[in-house]
């Protein structure tokens, strides 16, 4: 029997026939049809709350219209300004240290001296998968004044105990380190992947040109890594400004209000103080900042392949 005389299986009636027919409609209409559910879900999840938030932010807790009242009150509320400032300082600290750690680790693991690279990658990305709340718990055990290992280590070398999370002077760094523990692996894996994409002949020609070691790093490696580095920095910075679980788990905003982030501020006002309208004003500020960040991000950073 010749192959040609066989009917195409897909011409026969079957389970998928209804879907088959659907897929025969013109391409672009099908494209929109397939995209529609995701778009609706994603856009409605952003737009509906945004509209409600705007309405709430413009009215008092009892529902009277107050115009920009909530926003002006926000501008004069110290703890909001402090939360903003903490969030930005915290995020900057976290991403800078994480970037340096991640970059260093990526270069080290990428070096010819490291056997079993897959194993190292597996180990080093574990913290990335650990949730914020669990990380906080994990590190509280490290930081604990008596049962924690850190103070024990200090005592071994004769240093006094430190109340890592309990003093505002150290809480910033202590919480920062938890976040760095989770975030450095992201830089590591992104930069390690980017290192693999650098063509080896770049180094070969560089070494022929007499650029070795440090020189090759700054002239060859860094320029190749820069786009990935920027993307990772933006993403992690934005992520760090949302810190919430880590604060709840590690300090509950304390000591005092020393470690309030914007998210924590909104949560406290909306759900503990029951001032949802006032909290909505803060949400509005946060959304506006996000839009600015988003525009910057997609305008200047995420150009890579979409430009192609």
């Amino acid at each position: 029997m010749s192959v040609r005389s066989l009917p195409l299986a897909t011409n026969r009636p079957g389970r998928w026939q209804a879907v088959q027919h659907l897929w025969q409609i013109p391409e672009q209409r099908l494209a929109l049809l397939l995209l529609l559910p995701s778009l609706l879900v994603v856009l409605l999840t952003m737009l509906y709350p945004l509209i409600v938030t705007i309405r709430m932010a413009l009215s008092s807790e009892r529902g009277q219209f107050v115009g920009l009242g909530n926003l002006t009150r926000l501008a004069t509320t110290n703890i909001f300004l402090e939360s903003m400032s903490f969030t930005l300082r915290f995020s900057a600290f976290v991403v800078i240290v994480s970037l340096l750690l991640g970059l260093g680790l990526a270069l080290v693991v990428n070096s010819i001296y490291v056997p079993m690279k897959t194993l190292w990658i597996t180990i080093l990305i574990i913290p990335l998968m650990v949730s914020d709340i669990v990380s906080a718990v994990v590190w509280r055990l490290m930081y604990h004044p008596t049962i924690g290992i850190l103070n024990y280590a200090l005592s071994l070398v004769g240093l006094p105990r430190v109340d890592w999370l309990g003093k505002s002077s150290t809480a910033f760094f202590s919480v920062g380190i938890i976040e760095i523990w989770r975030s450095a692996p992201f830089f590591f894996i992104m930069l390690y992947a980017a290192l693999q994409l650098i063509p080896p002949d770049v180094y070969e020609s560089a070494s022929v040109d007499g650029a070795g070691g440090v020189r090759a790093f700054f002239d060859m490696t860094l320029p190749y890594l820069r786009p990935v580095m920027t993307v990772a920095l933006m993403l992690q910075f934005i992520g760090a400004t949302r810190a919430f679980g880590i604060i709840v788990g590690a300090t509950e905003g304390g000591p005092g209000r020393a470690t309030w982030t914007i998210s924590y501020f909104i949560y406290r006002y909306a759900f503990r103080a029951q001032q949802m309208h006032f909290a909505s004003a803060a949400v509005l500020v946060l959304v506006l900042l996000t839009i600015v960040a988003g525009v910057l991000f997609f305008r200047f950073v995420w150009v890579q392949r979409d430009a192609a």
């Binding site: 897909t10 998928w16 897929w23 025969q24 672009q28 099908l30 929109l32 397939l34 559910p37 995701s38 778009l39 879900v41 994603v42 856009l43 409605l44 999840t45 952003m46 509906y48 709350p49 680790l105 270069l107 080290v108 990428n110 010819i112 897959t118 990658i121 180990i123 990305i125 574990i126 913290p127 998968m129 650990v130 949730s131 709340i133 718990v137 994990v138 055990l141 008596t146 049962i147 924690g148 005592s155 523990w181 894996i189 992104m190 992947a193 180094y203 070494s207 990935v228 993403l235 949302r242 788990g249 949560y267 759900f271 949802m276 909505s280 949400v283 959304v287 996000t290 392949r305 979409d306």
Partner: protein, 281 residues
């Protein structure tokens, strides 16, 4: 980096190993410490110097954790994570195909892609208050389904964004070859394209699962009773205020860590692929 052999090779090698040793401690010791603490008894925790190994390992912590309903919460977490993963992929797989493969003109496709991309950086805290009120009004507050509904948009956006780059990497010719071999657009999608992108699908699915398994904010606000509480909430609730019974929260934390660490070890290749947006193959 430089393959040139030189006298300083031994020094470099030593430095590299030192850094790796430190990285190993930095990465794993905190996790080790939770596990060790989870096996200690109250008496041991009260000792003035913590021991690196539990002197007399006991399962008190785990017993308490079971009494306090953590297994139920873990089950809830699984339900929410699986549900979110399935729904997100069901949305994102056809969505990303439509976005990249069906000749959508750039002037329509790019804004849509950017809208999806924007959802990736949209703060979750910003939707909490309106959604809370809505959930209360609709009577769906404190239900697992609600948690899934809340998690889906963000994870669908993530999946769409990653899968979009995956589609762009699959040569169009493969689809065309299938069309010529006798497939329709749909059967080519189902029988050729989906299997061809399976590794990436697994990567995205695992990541969405882990993100949801770890999710804290929605769970904190949208669940109050054990029937809807997820593991992260359960863990947060075990943190002792003044007592020293840290083995309980350590045990709960260990329960949460096990699947995550196991997934990382078993599915490392897929995770890396998803995390780096397909940059690493």
């Amino acid at each position: 980096m430089q393959p040139n052999a030189s006298a300083s090779n031994a020094g470099k090698r030593a430095l590299v190993y030192l850094v790796l040793a430190l990285a190993l401690i930095w990465t794993l010791f905190p996790i080790y410490w939770v596990v060790v603490t989870s096996l200690k008894s109250n008496a041991e925790l009260a000792a003035s110097t913590p021991s690196l190994l539990p002197l007399q390992p006991v399962l008190d912590g785990y017993r308490t954790v079971i009494e306090r309903g953590i297994p139920r919460m873990a089950l809830n977490s699984v339900i929410v994570a699986v549900g979110t993963t399935i729904v997100s992929l069901a949305l994102a797989v056809p969505g990303s195909y439509g976005l990249t493969r069906l000749g959508l003109p750039r002037r329509i496709g790019t804004p849509l892609a950017l809208a999806i991309g924007f959802a990736l950086i949209f703060p979750a805290i910003a939707i909490v208050v309106p959604m809370f009120q809505l959930a209360v009004r609709l009577g769906i507050y404190d239900q697992l389904g609600t948690l899934i509904l809340l998690n889906v948009p963000f994870n669908a956006a993530f999946a769409l964004w990653v899968l979009r780059t995956v589609w762009m990497d699959i040569p169009r010719n493969i689809e065309e070859a299938a069309l010529l071999d006798g497939d329709t657009r749909f059967t080519a999608f189902r029988r050729v394209l989906l299997p061809a992108m399976l590794p990436s699908l697994i990567a995205v699915a695992v990541l969405v699962f882990i993100f949801t398994w770890n999710e804290f904010l929605f769970a904190l606000i949208f669940s109050t009773s054990p029937r809807a509480m997820t593991l992260p909430i359960g863990i947060a609730a075990q943190v002792p205020q003044h007592e020293l019974s840290w083995q309980i929260v350590a045990a709960a934390g260990t329960v949460a860590l096990v699947p995550v660490v196991a997934a990382t070890v078993l599915l490392q290749r897929y995770l890396v692929r998803g995390l780096t947006f397909g940059m690493a193959k």
